[in-house]
Structure formats: C-alpha cells, structure tokens
Symmetry: C2
Subunit: 494 residues, 2 copies
C-alpha cells in the first residue's frame, strides 16, 4: 500500500513555482463550478503519520481555494455532548452541504484506528467499526457526495528525523505534542492497522490516495491536482446518476517517478555462486514443504513480469525442489468459454490449493489490472474494482493459512530487446516470441504505470509483492527462492 510513497518523490522549486499559479486558478474555477452548477458535496479526509504534512496541506488548501466555500473541521476527542450519542454522530453533523467542500482533519477513521492501536478495542471490534464506516461512506456517496481520503505517508526513519527537526527549532517546538511522541513509538502498529483499514475501505467510490509526505512541493501539488481532477471529472458527469462503482480519480505520480524506476535491474551473480546457493535453497524449500507443520498451510506463488523476464525458468527451479504430488503449475492464458461465463475470479478460485498443497501461477489474476487494463479488454470501472476484489481474495487465502507470495520479474527495455533477438535466432526458442510481444514493447510506459498502481494497491504486509531485478537470471532465481524460503520459515516458525 505504501510502497510508492517511500521511493522519494520530489518537485523542484522552479517547477513548483511554475505550476502553482495555473493550479490555483484551475482550482478556483472548479470550485465556483461546483458551487454554481453542481449539486453534490465534496468530502476530503486528511489522515496519515504525524509530521507528514497534514496540517500544512490543510492550510494550503484553504489558501489556494476560496475558504468561504470550504468547511474545515478538526476533530479532537469527543466531548460530553458527542459521547452521549452514537460514535458517528459528530461526523454526521459536520457533513458538507451540496456545492461545498468539507475537509475533516481526523475523522471516524482516527477513532477506529487509534482505539485499535492503543488496544482499546480488539480486532473484531475494529473490523465492526470499519464495517460501520463502509456503510456510512456508501450511503453518503449514494447521496451524491464525492469522497477523497488522503493518507500522508512517511517512513519510520523520516518521521523520527522530521519530528526531531521540529523539536530543535524553538519556533516549531510547540507543534510536537506528547501524543505525537506516543504515536511515534507506535509507528509499526499504526502502519499495520492503517494498512488493514485502508485495504478494506479503499473502494472505487471513496478511494484512498496515499501521498509521500516528505517533499512539501510534491505533496502539495499532488493533493491540489487530485482534488482538481476528481471534482472536474464528477462535474463532467453532471446529470448522470451517481454510480457507486465509478472509477476513483487515480493520478499518475506528478513527478513521473514510479516504483519500477527505483530498481537496479543489473544485479551481479556468477554461475559458481548461483549453483551453490541454488542447491542450498532448493534443499531448504524441499525440507520446508515436507515439514509436518506445512500440512496446516498451503503455498500460492503468483508470477508476473515483463515478457521474456524468465518466469518459466524460475518456476522450474522451484518445482525441482518439490514433490510432484504436492504442486500444480497453472499457466494462465485468456479465459476459456467455460470460464468466461463465470465471475472473472472464478477460474483462479478453482485452483486454490488445499492444506499442504502448492499452486504456482504462471501469470495470474493480475492480468485484469495489467493486460486487460492496458489493452482496454476490461472497462475502467471493472479493472478499478478488481484491486479491491483481488485484495479480498488473497486475504481470504491468507486467513485460511496460505502463504501467498507475488513476484514481479523486471527486466530493462534493452535486456528485453536482446532476449527477443536471441530467441528469434535460436530455433527452438522461436515459438516463444510472437507479434504480440513486439506490440507490447510499444506500451512499455503504460505497463510501467499499471504495475506501479498494482503494487500500490495490492501489496500488503500479509500478502506482499516482491519486485525482482531480473536482468541477471541467476540473481532473479535466487532472490525468488530465498524470498519463498524466508516466508515459509516465518509462517511455520521453522
């Protein structure tokens, strides 16, 4: 969920100065259109880590937009009057009117999250409050509201650094409260429960937007552009019925930097080291999957990656270590006639392993948000909701004891070209390269963005994506195998 917000985004001072006047003008325009022409309210929720710029952003929005048309509400602990009523009551009171923007600093999400973080409620009660929230958001979104939920993110180290800076300066020291310090101590817990909450409530009609909070310029422009785009899109749909499954206002990162850009694809590993480590890892994997404790678990491996990135070769190095009776490799192509008449996830549900079983998918359900998105085989609102559906599917597997691991094998554009050419020259590999492969290369950037969105929206602590630098096949195989072994050991307590 937070991956792309941790790769270090930034916008230069010059670029920021250039963009802000245009953005402000556009925001004011859209705000007046909202007031004059539109009959829906906009609800903006501000959440995230202390020190990630939540307060600054709130002030900035009030500065950039016409504050007379914004209702900003900072929620602290409930007062007596509020505590005497249902927990959602105080938020209900403050919902914005049609034509206006309501901005909540801290909302029902804070109540649920911090009650859980400070152990005042257990996990089932936490889920019940999340369920309450989902019903509320569904209701007000069906009533027409546009809901945007921002999570301002910082890594643990950066949060520590940021709060130290604030404390050192006498002018800002007052801003670091005892609560902030207590929350800092609980960074990992907030992150864990925050992710859980975001996963369950990241719906198409009320999406979360995770923003890297480190660089103020990047953060401010991202928020401004997102609000602008979302309101403008909704106004353009004016007159059409509110479709709660409509697409969220996804914004490509404004600095064009995506998570795949951060990978060092050229890793080194020589054949000798590879052979030694391969033997060792295959031995470990073999032992782990034959372990008595594995009988209460299962293993689901999902492989995606660029064409010619080496998925097949990697999968073979895994299966060499497995008992043939325990695993199945499922190659995923376009759905068959039988599969096409069922819900789209059905063909994957069927292949879910039982306890003690292993299923390896060579291409996966992520086709929905990769090829089907990029090629336009699925409609936007269908692949948009797929993120939610995929998360739900994978977490049901995980809750049931499955270790679910997802690998993206990444090679560079040049490396792919070299491999394609080699395949064309090598007779017995020629079948592997088709017209389509060449066409896909033209969509390199569209795929890059799709992969980035996929990782942001479906990588969770329980079911993470592993991005594999795969220009060197040896390195890639070893990284995959050791990730699998480590995950199994952690789950089995081996």
């Amino acid at each position: 969920m937070f991956e792309s917000a941790e790769i270090g985004h930034s916008i230069s001072k010059e670029s920021y100065r250039e963009q802000v006047p245009l953005l402000r003008e556009a925001l004011l325009d859209v705000q007046y259109d909202l007031k004059e022409k539109a009959d829906f309210p906009v609800l903006i929720l501000i959440h995230g880590f202390d020190g990630a710029g939540r307060g600054e952003t709130m002030n900035l929005i009030n500065e950039w937009l016409d504050p007379r048309l914004i209702d900003t509400v900072a929620f602290a602990s409930a007062n007596d009057e509020e505590r005497a009523r249902p927990w959602m009551w105080r938020y209900w009171q403050k919902l914005p009117a049609k034509g206006r923007i309501g901005m909540f600093f801290g909302s029902y999400y804070s109540d649920a999250l911090f009650d859980r973080v400070y152990d005042e409620i257990d996990h089932d009660a936490f889920d019940r409050e999340i369920f309450d929230i989902m019903r509320l958001e569904r209701m007000i979104s069906q009533d027409g509201a546009l809901i945007l939920k921002f999570w301002f993110h910082l890594t643990k180290d950066k949060q520590r650094k940021r709060l130290k800076e604030l404390e050192k300066d006498p002018a800002t020291r007052w801003r670091v409260t005892e609560d902030d310090k207590a929350n800092m101590e609980r960074y990992d817990t907030i992150r864990k429960y925050g992710e859980h909450m975001i996963r369950l409530t990241n719906t198409a009609y009320a999406p979360w937007i995770v923003v890297d909070g480190e660089d103020a310029n990047f953060r401010s422009l991202t928020v401004g552009q997102t609000i602008l785009k979302a309101i403008r899109n909704r106004i353009n749909q004016h007159g059409t019925a509110v479709d709660v499954s409509e697409a969220p206002p996804l914004l490509a990162p404004i600095d064009d930097k995506v998570i795949l850009d951060t990978l060092q694809l050229d890793q080194k590993m020589d054949k000798a080291e590879y052979k030694t480590r391969l033997a060792e890892l295959q031995g470990r994997l073999s032992k782990l999957t034959r372990d008595e404790r594995f009988k209460n678990h299962s293993l689901v491996l999902a492989f995606e990656g660029n064409d010619a990135a080496g998925k097949g070769g990697t999968i073979r190095r895994i299966t060499q270590a497995l008992d043939a009776r325990s695993y199945r490799v499922v190659p995923v192509a376009a759905p068959t006639e039988e599969e096409r008449v069922k819900p789209w996830l059905w063909r994957f549900w069927r292949q879910v392993p039982g306890k003690g079983g292993i299923t390896i998918f060579d291409r996966t359900w992520y086709g929905r948000v990769l090829v089907e998105r990029v090629e336009g085989f699925a409609q936007e609102h269908d692949w948009m909701r797929a993120y939610y559906e995929i998360n739900d599917f994978e977490h049901q597997l995980s809750e049931n004891g499955a270790v679910v691991l997802k690998f993206w094998l990444a090679i560079s554009n040049e490396e792919q070209m070299a491999r394609f050419k080699l395949r064309e020259e090598t007779g017995f590999k020629r079948f592997k390269i088709t017209e389509e492969d060449w066409r896909n290369r033209e969509k390199w950037n569209a795929y890059k963005l799709a992969v980035s969105d996929m990782v942001d929206r479906t990588s969770t602590s329980k079911v993470p994506w592993t991005l594999v630098e795969a220009n060197n096949k040896y390195y890639a195989r070893i990284k995959v195998l050791s990730t699998i072994c480590a995950a199994l050991e952690a789950r089995l307590g081996a």
Copy 2:
C-alpha cells in the same frame, strides 16, 4: 422483518389452478430469454425455517422451469476438501454461469447463522462473516449476477404443528431429522440472529424476500412470480451497466392482503376507563423518565399515521407526563433549503437526543418511503435504499442506549372522512385540513402498500413498529403510552 409473513396468507385452489399454467409458460419464456439474450447469471438462495416449504419450493422450481438450465446445489456440512480452503470457497465453485440459474439450498448464510445459533462463534465474529458475505455479494452482483434470497417463514406454533404433522404420517416421518428437532428448540434464537443477518444483508442489489411458508399455493405463486418479475426486469435493462443500487424486485403480496388489513380498527374504550388508565400511565412514564437509570439511556418516539389519526393529541398526552427540560417535539415538514443540501437523513441525525434526553418526532424519516415514494418525490432507487439506511440509523441509536419506538396510527377510510368533515365544520380546527389531505385520500391503497413494505423492511425486534388501532382515540393513546412504559421498563430493568 417477519410481520407480513405472519398474518396468514392464502390462495384458493381454484385461483392457483388458474394462475399456474400462465405462470409456468411465462417462466419458461423468460428462462429461454435468459439463455439466449442475456449475459448474466441468476443466483437463488433458499433459506428459512424447517417445515416452511423450502424443499418443496426447490422441487417445484425445477418442475416449473427447464431443469437443464438450473444448477441446484444442496450444501451440507463442509467435507475435508472444502474445509481445507477458505470458508467461501465451496460456494465460489458452484456459482452459476451466465444465462443459467443457480439455486443454493443452504448457503454461506447457513454457515454463519448456525455457527452463531449453536454458539460456535461470538457476535463480533458473526458480524465479520456477514461482512464477508456482503463483499462477496457485492462482487458477484457487480459482475452482473441477479441475486434473489428467499426466507421461508413460519411462526413458532405453526412450525411445531407442521413438524408434528410430518412426523405423524409414516410417509413423511423420515423427513423430520434430529437436526430439525434441535433447530425447533432454538426457534427464537434462529429468528433473532436470522433477523439481524437479514437486516444487514438486505441490500438493493441482493434483496431478501420473506415468504409466508404456511400455505403452499401462496408460497409457490409468490416465489414463481418474484423470480419471473426479477429476471424479466433485468433482461429489459439489457445493455445498460449494472447499477448495484438498482431497485430490488419488490412484489406486492399476490393475495393483496397486507398487514394493515389485519387490524381491528374499532377498539372500544370509554372515557371513564381512559381517564383512570391515562393517569396511571402518565404517572409511570413520569417516574421512569426521572429514574436514575434513564440517564444512561434516551428515548426516541417516532409518530406516523393516516392524516387525522390523532398523532398530535397522542403526543400531548405523552408530554404532559414529561419534564419540559428533558424533551423536544420535532414536527417534520418538507426539508428546508439548508436541509435539502445535506444527506437526506442529516436533519434527523441532528435531532438525536443525548443521554437522558427524549425526542418525539411528529412525522419522521419514514416520509422517504411513504409520501416521497407515493408522490414520486424520491426516485425509486433512492427510497429503496432508504430502508437499509433507516435500519442502520435506528440501530446505531439503539446500540448507543436509545429506546426507539415507532408508532403507526391507523384509522379507517370512513373514520378519516368523518374527522375531515368535522374539522371543516369546526372553525378552530379548519386550518388542520387542506386540499392536500383530500388528495391523499385518493391514494389510500398506494399508502397502504407503502406502509406494509415499511413495516416489513424496518420493524426489528430491537426497533419495532407498533401498529395502533386508532378509530377510538382513547384506546390509541392508552396503547401508545403503555407500549412506551413497557419498553422503558424492559430496558431499564425497572
């Protein structure tokens, strides 16, 4: 939830014989249209009490329709293969294909309900499973599925009688299992948790249809007509995007008998008895609302009824017993400009009393499903989802400690006419009768149906409707006051 299924519906043999051939023909037609023209699956879930005709209905549907296009699945306890996978897995496997009808006898709802009834899971875990179910149904409905969920109902006495009959006859004795007997012992528990489950999952895109299971003719025709209407409606929307907020296929009771018809409106009470009981009840109410224990609760009274049914007079008899500082009477008219720009429930949320407080609504949020429905002020999909939203609102109040009571004051058409005329003749009451009141009379039957749907969909054990026979004002006032006193005594343990 179950009120209308307990008033004794029936269809005569003659009428049944007349209707069935037409219905069967229409069902076969729509089934072939589904296969040929439509690209969505139909999922029918069969639930309810033992002995209420679930099995018979399943067989009948297979007889009336073309069984080659129906996949009927009876789910028993999970087998080993199924238990080794997520609990929803076995249902996923069996989802019907597009163009086909899948009928589940026992489904994920049975797992959740009976785990709760037999105390294998606690209430939070029950809610979590319901949450799982809602996400699944939302997903498959967004994927295009038409979902119909039948709850076959019987009162406790009638269930007991029915199972005895089956046991007495050697030909049917085998059908009464030990499980049935164990379930019969737990009738109240099944009813309580069943109602909770139905309330939370009775969505516009996957509605529950509660069917009186006593009379086989009524039951069979209701199910057949509902399936027919629902599939036909969906096919007619062919080509339009699936709107998950679309209206459920509500069917007026096929025997035209609604719950208001069962009231004996002419109750007797003379002035002397009225005076004695009024004094006694007002004393009790006064004491109860001044009780120390009431400070942890609150009281919400909602009054609806026919025009001139005596709401105002009844409310005055209540407030006479209350401390003026503790209560507020909220007369509800058309929303103001300020209210119109907020979510429709907002103006009622605002008036929610705090602990120790009392709010009396003279007309209520039910206007959404009464006048706004009948007069067409709200669109169908808006008032349809209002049932769910109202239930949610009221149950949040109830969870928070409020005693919520809803009264429908019912008078006969003739009594209303007499009161209207009297008002016209009595100078100081003339303001009370308007053109609109006369117009409303013309819609008497439309209102009757709206009231019936309202009671069916929003009366729950925690937040019940009380239907008040109000041709005699004395009787009505006493019934209301004693209902309030009894509910307060129960909640306060007084």
